[in-house]
């Protein structure tokens, strides 16, 4: 139960979370699908010393990226879906019905092993509902995922 709540808070399923983007601004909820990854600290020379940038995290997000640290299911308060590049991978996995990104999403939502195939199938069938156009944001995607889950007999229990 607690896990579901945390998942809901993190992934934006609760009603209060709809009003205020969970985690606050800066958590990537405004990210659109196919967001460029130019923000990643990738430049040729950084690889030579495998450098980490000055404000390298240590799994603690307090004060480093503006996200709340309430709940710590996925990466201490960073929303998985809002992370750079992740939504695109989730979209691709949903389009085809399986993949590591989709598995990670279902695990982070507390979905039991036995229901994961069902989760994948429902996401695959509802791809067009969850991703209605290319300008959809992470927050909207999460809201649609929960809507779709609500209408499914075996998945709705994860939103209770």
């Amino acid at each position: 139960m607690k896990k579901t709540l945390i998942a809901a808070a993190l992934l934006g399923a609760s009603t209060s979370a709809m009003a205020v983007a969970p985690g606050g601004p800066g958590c990537g909820w405004g990210n659109m699908l196919f967001e460029g990854k130019s923000g990643l600290p990738m430049h040729l020379l950084a690889t030579i010393v495998n450098g980490t940038s000055g404000n390298a995290t240590f799994g603690m997000t307090t004060g480093t990226n503006g996200c709340d640290t309430n709940g710590s299911l996925t990466y201490s308060g960073q929303s998985l879906l809002g992370m750079t590049g992740v939504m695109e991978e989730v979209a691709q996995d949903m389009a085809t019905g399986e993949g590591e990104a989709l598995t990670a999403l279902s695990v982070s939502m507390g979905i039991e092993t036995g229901d994961r195939a069902r989760f994948n199938a429902v996401m695959h069938e509802n791809f067009a509902v969850i991703f209605p156009h290319q300008d959809v944001t992470a927050e909207e995607v999460m809201a649609s995922i929960t809507d779709v889950m609500k209408q499914d007999e075996s998945l709705s229990k994860y939103l209770a």
């Binding site: 460029g36 990854k37 130019s38 600290p41 980490t52 000055g54 390298a56 995290t57 799994g59 991703f131």
Partner: protein
């Protein structure tokens, strides 16, 4: 009754014994590992701690004196609710075990640590090796990091990555950055980041295949590692590119988990990441291996599963998704349609992964993705028999050669190369078309004279990345050092040269054509530095254990000198660590030239 007595005796004796043996405890492998004492693995700081940060030590001379640090730690951690416990949970655990401390909820007052610890849990530790990729020389040795998996299922996107790297402000300019990275000017730190970010970086952005090795650590050992990791938060180590680098530090972490693993007992100069895997493997610490192809490899596998006509259409779809309505596309079977759309989509994403979001690309991507959703899913063809990097040849090399020059005099040669791989070396486990060599030395002796320096290769990097319909990389090379060349007579010249061009793969054949610029210094030419320009072209052919190359490189210098070298060479890799190479070459210059034949036995080690 007897067990009861034994227990009483033990409970009474053990603490007494332990209390008397602080010096012994200070020498125990675990404490030495927690202190990061250098047992002789590198030349700097032998017998002292690698940690270069006063805040890690409670005693003034803690860096040099593990016993003083142990004594200070006992004093700091023993009192109830001691604040220092929150910083040193692994040290506390070590002392509690050996000194029989029985505190109820010893970390009850440590809010930040407890929160972190509950978020960072692992039941499996995996060593990750993002392999080299073409077109980035800095990556050519690869990198290593650790992954902490919460569960044993496939949700590795939720795992943590433990990365050791130099901390830089990013404000320095590039050359300075390299220099300081090599010379130890940056502190190195451990960072704990979401593994999904590492997948994004390596597999999605840099085209690096990732090899993942499950480490055979039990839950206890894993907990040691995680608790110690907390102690290293914001703690500075020295960072040296050649030895005290990412790979080396990971060995220190594994030492904390399993102090009797003896990973650091040998001298480890120039710790190449692949040798870290070998070291762990040799000590039985690797229990599983998984290959994660990069997005570029997956796209290439998709490309190769299509007919040329399908490739053309897929490529055009990426530019114009409207072609989904074309007759050519509509006529194809659904499976083939799916293959083409998937390839087009993946190509489009790969092309646009680095830039800012572009509305047209986003719209096209979405159109293709929606079509993918409506077609049967495509299984991306897996790479057959991917070659594990640790199965490749050793990184150092010794070679003996004999040959004949100009049909007149015989010579013998002894060569040594510090690192790493030559295009003709046994390619198993190495990236095809990539060459990186550093510090190679060749001595040649003839019947008539003493051994003389034949060549000193400081560095030689070659990246021959094949171009195809979906990928148009640049091929390039850069090298420098000392070699024998014709300038009035055969003499030792100092040079730097490099160039760029293209390369293509046709079955096992790989032709390449590069422009070449050369700067040379020798005692014959009038100017101190003489520039020359020319071409470097050739053909590689690989079949089984045989690697062939025929090629020619020529330069025309500003002082009207002309010179070229052509060579036909073949290497037979008859064993993992041994190769036989034969070469026939001709050095030519205006009006004349000499031929040379050479047979070489190459032995790879370490």
């Amino acid at each position: 009754m007897r067990t009861g007595l034994l227990c009483v005796l033990l409970c009474w004796i053990v603490p007494a014994l332990a209390a008397n043996s602080l010096p012994e405890l200070a020498n125990s492998p675990r404490w030495q590992a927690l202190m990061h004492i250098n047992p002789g693995a590198t030349l700097r700081d032998r017998g002292r701690s690698y940690i270069d940060d006063d805040s890690y030590f409670l005693a003034d001379n803690g860096k040099q004196d593990p016993l003083a640090e142990l004594t200070a730690t006992v004093a700091a951690l023993e009192p109830a609710a001691a604040p220092a416990r929150c910083r040193f949970p692994a040290r506390y655990r070590f002392l509690a075990e050996h000194l029989d401390w029985q505190h109820a909820s010893p970390f009850g007052h440590c809010e930040a640590y407890s929160e972190w610890r509950s978020a960072v849990q692992a039941s499996r530790v995996v060593l990750v090796f993002p392999a080299a990729y073409l077109n980035s020389p800095s990556s050519m040795f690869g990198h290593t990091l650790l992954r902490l998996d919460q569960g044993k299922d496939s949700a590795v996107w939720l795992s943590w990555a433990v990365n050791f790297g130099a901390v830089s402000t990013g404000a320095d300019n590039s050359l300075f950055y390299i220099y300081r990275g090599l010379a130890g000017g940056y502190p190195g730190r451990f960072a704990l980041v979401p593994y999904v970010q590492k997948i994004q970086e390596y597999s999605h952005m840099e085209n690096r295949d990732m090899w993942e090795y499950t480490l055979d650590l039990d839950q206890q050992e894993i907990d040691w590692l995680i608790e110690h990791l907390w102690e290293l938060k914001d703690i500075n180590f020295d960072y040296y590119f050649f030895d005290e680098n990412c790979s080396f530090r990971l060995l220190e972490l594994v030492e904390v988990a399993r102090p009797d693993s003896r990973l650091l007992t040998e001298l480890r100069f120039a710790e190449v990441p692949v040798n870290t895997i070998r070291a762990l493997d040799e000590r039985g610490l690797v229990s599983g291996r998984h290959y994660r192809p990069s997005k570029a490899v997956e796209l290439d596998n998709l490309r190769r599963s299509m007919t040329p006509a399908q490739q053309v259409l897929a490529r055009r779809l990426a530019d114009a998704p409207a072609l989904l309505e074309s007759d050519d596309f509509q006529r194809a079977a659904p499976r083939d349609q799916a293959l083409m759309v998937t390839t087009a989509y993946r190509y489009l994403r790969l092309q646009n992964r680095k830039g800012a979001r572009d509305p047209k690309v986003a719209k096209d991507s979405f159109t293709l993705l929606t079509k993918m959703n409506q077609l049967p899913p495509v299984d991306v063809p897996v790479t057959e028999n991917p070659e594990p990097p640790e199965s490749g040849h050793g990184t150092q090399m010794l070679a003996l050669s004999g040959g004949q020059r100009d049909g007149e005099w015989d010579f013998g040669e002894l060569s040594y190369r510090l690192t790493y791989h030559n295009l003709l070396d046994n390619g198993y486990g190495f990236l095809r078309g990539a060459q990186i060599e550093g510090m190679g030395l060749t001595l040649r002796s003839t019947e008539s004279g003493d051994p003389k320096l034949e060549a000193l290769d400081v560095v030689s990097i070659r990246s021959l990345a094949p171009r195809n319909r979906f990928s148009k990389p640049l091929s390039w090379y850069v090298e420098g050092g000392l070699e024998r060349a014709w300038a009035g007579r055969r003499r030792l010249v100092r040079f730097v040269q490099g160039g760029a061009g293209g390369s293509w793969a046709i079955g096992n054949w790989q032709p390449y054509l590069l422009t070449s610029l050369r700067m040379e210094n020798n005692s014959e030419f009038d100017t101190f530095l003489t520039p020359g320009a020319g071409l470097d072209a050739g053909l590689l052919y690989q079949r089984g254990n045989w690697q062939w190359q025929v090629g020619s490189v020529g330069h025309y210098f500003t002082n009207d000198t002309y010179r070229h070298t052509s060579e036909l060479a073949v290497q037979w890799a008859f064993a993992r660590q041994h190769g036989l190479r034969a070469s026939l070459s001709r050095e030519g210059w205006r009006g004349d030239g000499v031929n040379e034949f050479k047979l070489q036995w190459r032995w790879y080690f370490d």
